[in-house]
């Protein structure tokens, strides 16, 4: 009963491989969820009742059903309808869809916070609805929602540990293998806990910097 972390040294490379896979999956899923979140945010702020109701249903469903259930639904369900994809792709898709529900809320808040004067100015300048949206509304909304999108990313890094349950050997999956190889689960999981905490801490620091940089002209209002 002695905490001996040196036994982990030979396995560090193996764990780093897992960490890399985690980051890869999260990066891809972040892109996916921001794109999806943008589309859903547009749908939710749409003036059409039906489209916004449908978008709300999506957000409501994917926020209120546990991620592990969604993951199993895709992982076991997709082959049933003839789509055979590997665990990594399934994981990224599931993370993107679940993350998209959270991201859409962040972006929607950004869209709703836009001053009506800006929209009126665009209208008076004769910009079409589409151009107003892609050139004016979205850039402002994405810029102000960097911080909430950052917490979506942090949540995603934590959630990605669940991907280990569908045979995907990311950080948690690799750590499980190391734990059963060395018979030292306590040391392995304590280190893993610290690594995840450090990782999310670094990400949140980066987000704060990015947020400040992008919103430097609004310094006194945002900070």
């Amino acid at each position: 009963m002695r905490l001996d972390l040196t036994i982990l040294i030979p396995h560090l490379g193996f764990l780093a491989e897992g960490a890399l896979l985690t980051l890869e999956a999260c990066a891809l899923a972040l892109v996916g969820s921001v794109i999806l979140g943008m589309l859903v945010a547009i749908a939710r702020t749409s003036s059409s009742q039906w489209i916004s109701r449908l978008a709300f249903l999506y957000v409501d469903l994917f926020r209120n059903i546990p991620f592990i259930v969604q993951l199993f639904f895709f992982y076991y369900g997709l082959p049933e309808i003839g789509i055979y994809i590997d665990a990594f792709t399934t994981g990224v898709i599931a993370l993107s869809i679940a993350g998209g529900a959270y991201a859409s809320d962040a972006i929607r808040a950004g869209i709703l916070a836009i001053d009506n004067g800006i929209l009126e100015a665009a209208e008076v300048s004769g910009l079409s609805k589409r151009v107003t949206f892609t050139r004016i509304v979205l850039p402002i909304a994405l810029r102000t929602s960097v911080r909430p999108l950052g917490s979506v990313l942090i949540n995603m890094i934590l959630t990605s540990s669940i991907l280990s349950t569908i045979t995907l050997n990311e950080l948690t999956g690799q750590a499980k293998i190391v734990a059963s190889d060395t018979f030292r689960p306590f040391e392995v999981y304590v280190v893993l806990l610290v690594v995840y905490a450090a990782l999310t801490y670094l990400v949140s620091l980066g987000i704060t910097l990015l947020h400040r940089r992008l919103n430097r002209d609004l310094q006194e209002q945002v900070s």
Partner: protein, 223 residues
């Protein structure tokens, strides 16, 4: 090829899983609530050392995956301290502490939401620090915190699905079992998803009801 069809007994099985999920959710929420509020009180009294330790523990618990915490408690702790741990007790310990970390944050922010002038006025009237907490801060902080608390509990209900990974027979585990037996992932996971969704909605509406009650004194009555 089908190995087995659905039987009426499967519904009982699903409800049993739902019972385990809801039961563990209620127990761990209650324990987490008590621990989290106690931590908040420790911070209110500014107990040295203990306060810093609690802040650090809460930070680590919030910023690491629940799955890793579960593995640490279920695989790591018994191996390190040479004791026995059942899946249910590991689940109760982990989920309670995890909930406590988030409750702590809500408790701190809702205590701080009460204006300093109120506390100072109460102190001038000769109330002790405990009386201030009990009669001035607690009633207002409770009303303030019920909104974030509801969001937290809806989230924690979904987090309980992770305990299926260490072998607790909750709703997600029953789903996995039924999925393996019937090989009909779409039906099984949809049913499980709907049950989780309904449970989450029930928690959310209970929270909304409680908030309405607690805020009744300050609600706008109309002209």
């Amino acid at each position: 090829m089908r190995f087995a069809e659905f039987t009426p007994y499967d519904i009982v099985l699903l409800l049993q899983g739902l019972g385990v999920t809801v039961g563990l959710f209620l127990i761990t929420s209650l324990i987490g609530l008590v621990i989290g509020v106690l931590w908040g009180i420790v911070r209110f009294y500014r107990v040295p050392v203990l306060m810093q330790v609690i802040t650090f523990v809460a930070e680590v618990l919030k910023n690491s995956p629940v799955l890793v915490q579960l593995f640490l408690v279920f695989f790591g702790v018994p191996a390190f301290f040479k004791l026995n741990m059942t899946p249910v007790s590991a689940a109760v310990i982990t989920l309670s502490l995890n909930t406590a970390a988030f409750v702590y944050v809500i408790a701190v922010s809702s205590i701080e939401s009460i204006g300093r002038d109120q506390v100072e006025a109460a102190r001038v009237f000769g109330l002790s620090r405990w009386q201030v907490l009990r009669h001035v801060i607690a009633p207002q902080a409770a009303a303030f915190s019920i909104g974030p608390l509801t969001a937290l509990l809806v989230n924690q209900l979904q987090v309980t699905s992770l305990i299926s990974v260490i072998g607790v027979l909750d709703l997600a585990k029953i789903g996995a079992t039924l999925n393996l037996r019937t090989l009909k992932p779409f039906i099984v996971w949809t049913a499980v998803g709907i049950l989780y969704y309904l449970a989450a909605k029930a928690v959310a509406s209970l929270g909304a009801w409680a908030e309405k009650r607690l805020r009744a004194h300050s609600a706008f009555r109309g002209l």
